[in-house]
Symmetry: C2
Subunit: 318 residues, 2 copies
């Protein structure tokens, strides 16, 4: 695709690659159908696929100056894209459980525990998380191309290290624990209701995985350390912009446009950007984030589609 | 330690290395204390540490013919030993949840969800599973020795692949899903009450991780494929012997000797070897497994401590 193709078409084409790769990753012919169908229910239910799109876009953008064709960079990064989306999907399944956020609607469908019961929903999440790491380590397959290029082993190990750190106790799981404590759901634990606490929670709960989505793409494409750092800085600000706009859309939206329960965070008394700053000021804060994200890219001569994704994060409707 | 040291002393010394490495792996200084203390609660609560002992023993046994000193083989395999025990620990935390087996006692202490609530227990399990893969990919550290040898990247990737397959949908998680369905806990799902179904459930739920525990040790020590296969065959039969003897001990034991709720499987109407064959015939079946396990070792000139562990599995009291 040429650089004059609209971003929406570029992302739509990328999503087709990603959907195909996700379906392959959970074909899992030797697994009991009980578990694999529960994993597929959540993984193959649509969604924006923002994170894996970021992985592939970051790989294309950082691979190009190294002389790597876009199609090859995309294939190198595809295992990480799949792994990131599997981890995102597992986190939604577990977050939606009655023991956590207790949500019954996700991507316009009943959540996993509503359909499968809590036990199998927990296991489906566990399975998605586990297979995610197997995918980067090179099994199960994510493409039908037997000759698909595979990143060298040290890069794949680094991608696994990055993803485990982002998804683990210091990242997503830790952020979810803070969120749970803030909601008064952990015996004997409280969290201060401050700007700093809100930002730490978001940085861990959603920011860390968005950063890893982008950086694992750059890592697998073979980017140099300073480029990986710039992509990380870009993704940190992009993730924050996304979170802020999510709060705004949540405050304005309906279940049908969002595909999930609208206004739920505010109703649960959770701290949100809109509750703290109002919608207009929240949008201004998000625009500041996008400006910083683009400045990080420019530092190492990047821009293009990564920059377009940042701009789009401000204008999206869902 | 010389080969004339009793097995109990050999394993006790190994356990000290393992406990030290486990504690390092969850030091996690950048994680919120809420989550890291919940992870430590379950990971650092004792237990036989059978699986990581198998990892280190397999590494020593298969490294020796390649000229690798026992101490070096042990260090090469230590990340996998830690990862295997973290995955075992996560599986117990999730299995004990009210949505699964609903057990309140484990290793002589209240289970994680009793202490932390269901939400944080789910997250603690998620954190342990996630960090396990990070440990093999080389972060966080499991030893204080800055000069500790690290297995080459392709071996570490293979260990991750092996472990993800064993713990994932075709292995442990799949076995747990079958177990849950057999207990009537999944809407619309049933499992036949047959010998074959019982064996498939155990092979996945406990067998797969025991096999991966042993084979990842051999993989990281650099063993050839035929040796890895022999270790895998050994561990498959060892795991089955362990499961059978677990059923026998469960039928004879008390909470205080087992450190967990005794007679629970039988009370829940779950199929057990003792219910099916009686205690005496079950012990004979286990002895057959151990004979097969030792024959697999002999096929590639192995024996020693691995064989002693197999013999011990029959005579252990808890």
């Amino acid at each position: 695709m040429t650089s004059t193709t609209p971003l929406s078409e570029y992302l739509a084409e990328m999503r087709r690659d990603i959907e195909d790769a996700l379906a392959r990753a959970v074909a899992l012919s030797t697994a009991p159908p009980i578990i694999s169908q529960a994993m597929r229910y959540s993984l193959l239910s649509g969604g924006k696929r923002l994170r894996p799109c970021l992985t592939l876009t970051a790989a294309e953008a950082t691979g190009a100056p190294l002389g790597t064709a876009a199609a090859e960079a995309r294939l190198l990064a595809l295992p990480a894209a799949v792994a990131v989306e599997m981890i995102h999907s597992y986190s939604l399944v577990h977050d939606d459980l009655p023991a956590m956020d207790n949500d019954g609607l996700r991507r316009g469908r009943p959540t996993s525990h509503v359909v499968h019961g809590d036990g199998l929903a927990i296991l489906a999440g566990d399975g998605l998380l586990t297979e995610a790491f197997g995918v980067i380590a090179a099994s199960p397959p994510v493409t039908s191309r037997a000759d698909a290029p595979l990143a060298p082993a040290p890069r794949r190990l680094r991608a696994i290290t990055t993803l485990a750190a982002a998804a683990g106790a210091a990242g997503m799981v830790g952020g979810q624990a803070i969120d749970l404590a803030a909601a008064g759901r952990i015996p004997g634990q409280t969290v201060p209701n401050s700007d700093a606490a809100l930002e730490e929670m978001h940085a861990r709960k959603t920011g860390a995985l968005i950063r890893a989505a982008a950086t694992t793409g750059a890592i697998l494409a073979g980017a140099a350390d300073d480029v990986i750092r710039a992509v990380d800085d870009y993704a940190r600000d992009l993730g924050l912009a996304f979170q802020i706009i999510d709060d705004v859309l949540d405050s304005e939206g309906s279940n049908s446009t969002l595909g999930k329960t609208a206004g739920k965070d505010a109703a649960a008394g959770k701290p949100t950007y809109v509750a703290r700053y109002g919608a207009a000021e929240s949008r201004r804060l998000a625009a500041d984030c996008v400006a910083r994200a683009n400045a990080s890219l420019e530092r190492v001569g990047l821009g293009g589609r990564l920059s377009e994704i940042a701009e789009w994060s401000l204008t999206r409707r869902s």
